[in-house]
Subunit: 403 residues, 2 copies
Amino acid sequence: MSEQPRGPLSGVRILDLTRVLAGPYCTTLLWELGADVLKIEMPGHGDDTRAFPPFQNGESVYFASINRGKRSLALDLKNEGDRKVFDGLLERADVLVENFRPGTMERLGYGYDAVKEKFPDVIYGAISGFGNTGPYRDLPAYDLIVQSLGGMISINGPEGSGGYRLGISLGDLAAGTFAALAISSALYERRASGQGRFIDIAMLDVQTMLLESALVRQFATGESQKPTGSRHPVITPFDVFQAKDGPIAVACANDHLFNELCDAIGAPALKEDPHYNNLFARYANQPALKIELEKVLAADTVAGWVEKLRPLGIPVAPIHTMADVVNDPQLKARNMFVEVDDAEMGKLKMAGSAFKISGYEQSPTRPPAPNLDEARADVMKELSLPHEEKRERVKQDPKEPLW
Amino acid sequence: MSEQPRGPLSGVRILDLTRVLAGPYCTTLLWELGADVLKIEMPGHGDDTRAFPPFQNGESVYFASINRGKRSLALDLKNEGDRKVFDGLLERADVLVENFRPGTMERLGYGYDAVKEKFPDVIYGAISGFGNTGPYRDLPAYDLIVQSLGGMISINGPEGSGGYRLGISLGDLAAGTFAALAISSALYERRASGQGRFIDIAMLDVQTMLLESALVRQFATGESQKPTGSRHPVITPFDVFQAKDGPIAVACANDHLFNELCDAIGAPALKEDPHYNNLFARYANQPALKIELEKVLAADTVAGWVEKLRPLGIPVAPIHTMADVVNDPQLKARNMFVEVDDAEMGKLKMAGSAFKISGYEQSPTRPPAPNLDEARADVMKELSLPHEEKRERVKQDPKEPLW
């Protein structure tokens, strides 16, 4: 790659054995920080998400968004010839990332110990549901299972409910992000020591680090947090309220903001009321305060209140649908929607990068996700191995999903 | 610090001006990766979360969990003497992290341009609600506001609802994690270039990168994702079902697993039924399939099904409450609950680290969070400045929150 460095990890070579979400999300983040990512896929099949809806011109938009910019090489790690290619790639790689079930890489002869023996400087990132140790090690894990066991479901959803899975696959996304962070820090350390590392990231462990106050409260008080709807478990008012024509978010995290809110909505009596005039009182009387505020907020529309309260510095917001999100002026100004021009799929739009780092250009476009095995000729040349013909592109038939 | 390196960022000095959640979470992750974190707080007041419930012996467990291991120095950046101390710290720092509203650091004379002029090698991480550019730049942002504008609320919660805030402050937590990742990658790059960077992380930008398929679907099809309860928007069955005595999570992401499930629960007819015998059919007939499965699952308890299905490799799980989470054998085996012995608060338990990296010891304990200004004598000595007496510890009165 002779172009301008895309980010601080420019020049880092990632050998990417990951599939579906947690692993590919990890390597996408590393790509966005500048790394070169070579995705190794099963010949003829490829990453399962190549068959995930929605589709555009018969190809998966889901796959395209989580694998933009990567290159693809199809290798069967049980095939001797392909293993030679893989060894050549390992020799040149800085990082290997995989998200198979623990034990799979060992069975293929590429567990960490085997890799380390030949390539001691390789940073080996393993992402799995439960990690490489412990009684759950060999259990299958999906995002839903991890959210269930990690307590995430039990604290998410309407008050009085038993909880709901988060609307995003945070089990996968967070594990991928934590893995990228661990890998990046190991790359930093390796510049001094020359040493590779084994990084063992478990989705369930990561969930535990995201429980915020629920976990410490459980340990400190024995009190189990339950779903609290849209409101913050402690801060009040910090909730979604009903205005004349729909819901509006209001977040007043201190007395000063609460007082400003009361004045601005024409309810100055509330700020003097001993039931509401300090944070602990508001917390204790949260249901009554919600009724009082909704009485007043019913007088105007969401748009009306946002227009009135925002310039006063009071934190309010409409509840954006996904259709609103793609039109948000701030996200547009921040280049958060980038365009991909894919030869087969046509134009696509997707999330850009939240990594705004000085000295690196913020491109409004991304290279497309690779066709299966698309990089074969290039990789063979880089490895000075005999050139093989590029394999045929696998077109997915949405009627016959492979997963 | 002469002890064994705690992690790959050992030796990295973080000058930490952050408060509340997004910023302190970022520096906690960096601490867990080995960095030394010096927390700069307002004299007499300190981080607002020192007054966040729950409390143990009058001190905040919330603060304690998000600031374990850090050191604290109280500085007023408007005071000339304190600014000299701060300049001395900047000279020795590798990284500065702050999460004030954009413009605040400039008004204090410590915006990036000013810092860069004197200390060009400092990596400057700025975390804010909307970032340093764009029309929302100066608006106040809290987690709820960012979740509202970012579309997160609109896709979370029971089917048919208007959506609910996620049960965790993911706006803060994710921004802190992404900031840590950007900082770590900039540290890697700096080892080669010697160059500092300005890193501008916006909570709203980060939300956009976590929308998974909802955003690309909106762009590709114009279809706005809505809350889908506990079920996956596409994969079926991937949901929480009612068993005899409560809810159970079942995640069968492919035909193979679905067939195994049908056999194991004694409903082999389902796997042959053309309404359910492939993923697209199951997706189309999801409500009917849920009814069929719940009919069968009603025959046994959650514990009964888990005991039966887990050994068969079928991904099932009970919905853990927070009380279950703290007793989970896998999390215990993974050292995910660490102990802190605080001189004033006594023993505390909190989440450990999901960063399992070879060559670094996994300690079952953490040093406590600092008392306000506790590191003063040490820091003055390190800077060879005249020693001042340690300031008094600020005890928070929960009746009089400072925020």
